[in-house]
Amino acid sequence: MKRFLRALGRLWTIPVALVAWEAVTRAADDNFFPPPTEIAARMHEMWFSGPAERLWLTDAALDNIPTSIGRIFAGWLLAAAVGISLGLVLGRSALLSRFVEPIIEFGRAIPPPALLPFFLALFAAGTQMQVATIAFGIVWPILLNSGDGARHVDRLHLETAQVFGMSRGQRLVRIILPAALPKIFAGLRLSLSLALILMVISELVGSTNGIGFQLLDAQRSFDLPGVWGTIVVLGVLGYAFNSAFLLVERRLLSWHRAAKQTI
């Protein structure tokens, strides 16, 4: 209970920011910047005015939000699997990384919106293509950080493993992976937020549902409270994902925090 209250206490900045936002937008009275109360009303109408037995969620909410979340997670998990494994391998193999480095850098520098035609070509439209776009767009921080972490394992740790004759696989799983884990987590955390962004981008073209589609729809109808409301939903989702992520990270990296703390 006490912990809960303390956690709540930490959120004090949110009401402050909200009030400030309301005040500023009311004062400015600009069409493009509706006050939060108006946004909230629109959000309620869009998503939370459904029947009680469905937790007040509307059809639109049930249609779009879970679909998008599903895509985000599918894309994120795919990116994590590919990014971590490839990153570790590239981090440890200088030869291989010499071969693929330019390709990776190349892929990384391509604007995801420009990639849409390519993924459209490969996967046609639909969830497959969206998941691929998300995964492709967010894999870089994971790949780069994993590679970096794997490259920069304390030399003595590796030598110790080598001396005790640990196999390559064992070294990868028992030494390199844990040593790189702090960096990998930094990458995972970055890419989780990126996944939301990429979800929106991937739903901008050839899509028929999802949060990104709703954003597009609202934009196309000049429904500005709707646009803002969708952005707020994205922010809330991002916050929720990030909090859950930090919780897991705290567990898995407890050794790291403790080993590196002073006083």
Binding site: D154, L156, H157, E159, T160, Q162, V163, F164, G165, M166, S167, Q170, R174, I175, P178, A179, L181, W255, H256, A258, A259
Partner: protein
């Protein structure tokens, strides 16, 4: 078992290069315990890392059991001088000790048991569940000794393994090393700065000169066994040998002495 011939090593190239090993020739028979002493920075750790295959020497050969050392040989354990960095902070002490045992044909329970036994031998049975960074320096050093001993390697390389523990523990660990060696027929190379220790535990004491290191003395220690902290150290041969080693080390250090 181990044959080193004309081993040289130079770190770096060009004007900043450092010529660390200047032609080392050394033969170690199976089951022997050879102590290596020499001034600080002369190249002892370099020699040890070459034997372990962690460093490709710039010249000469290291042959182990008839085949040249190209990569890290099998059945080898090392206690590093920088013990604290050689422990893995993400694993408990017991896991650190049992990790290398995965290579042996042992199941989880056996590994755990072997690790606990080794930890008990170094007086750390109480710390098995802790993490390395929760231990004092001396305790960390003992964990890395326990890890090496639990592994039961054919060749054990130790780089100043008892430097961070108190006198009593040090003696206990010396005796432990001797005991383990004779039980499991290990070959041991032990680097130390303690001349008494080198004579007490060694079958041979090899003295290195300052950089570029060469062997300036190779003394056989023929003390009656089993050795014992009190009687052995009082033995006249011990006193004589220790003075001899001391002279060799000192002789080699005169030019590099700190300014007074």
């Amino acid at each position: 078992m181990l044959e080193i011939s004309n081993l040289t090593h130079t770190y770096g190239t060009g004007p900043g290069a450092h010529h660390a090993l200047g032609g080392i020739d050394l033969k170690v028979a199976e089951g022997e315990l050879v102590c290596i002493v020499g001034p600080s920075g002369c190249g002892k750790s370099t020699l040890l890392r070459s034997i372990a295959g962690l460093l490709r020497p710039t010249g000469g050969r290291v042959v182990l059991n008839g085949s040249p050392v190209e990569r890290t040989p099998d059945d080898l354990a090392v206690v590093f001088q920088d013990y604290s960095r050689s422990l893995f902070p993400w694993m408990s002490v017991a896991d650190n000790v049992s990790l290398p045992l995965r290579r042996k044909d042992m199941d989880k329970k056996q590994r755990r048991q072997a690790a606990m036994e080794a930890l008990e031998q170094v007086g750390l049975d109480g710390a098995a569940a802790k993490y390395p960074w929760q231990l004092s320096g001396g305790m960390q050093q003992r964990v890395s000794i326990a890890r090496a001993l639990a592994y039961r390697p054919a060749l054990l390389l130790m780089d100043e393994p008892f430097g961070s523990v108190d006198a009593q523990t040090r003696e206990d660990l010396e005796d432990l090393t001797l005991r383990v060696r004779s039980h499991h027929n290990m070959t041991i190379l032990l680097i130390t700065h303690d001349i008494d220790e080198s004579v007490y535990v060694g079958d041979r004491v090899v003295v290195l000169s300052k950089a570029p290191a060469t062997i300036v003395g190779d003394l056989r220690v023929d003390l009656p066994g089993p050795r014992d902290q009190i009687t052995t150290r009082e033995h006249p041969d011990f006193v004589h040998l220790r003075a001899e080693v001391g002279r060799l080390v000192r002789g080699m250090r005169n030019q590099a002495a700190p300014a007074s």
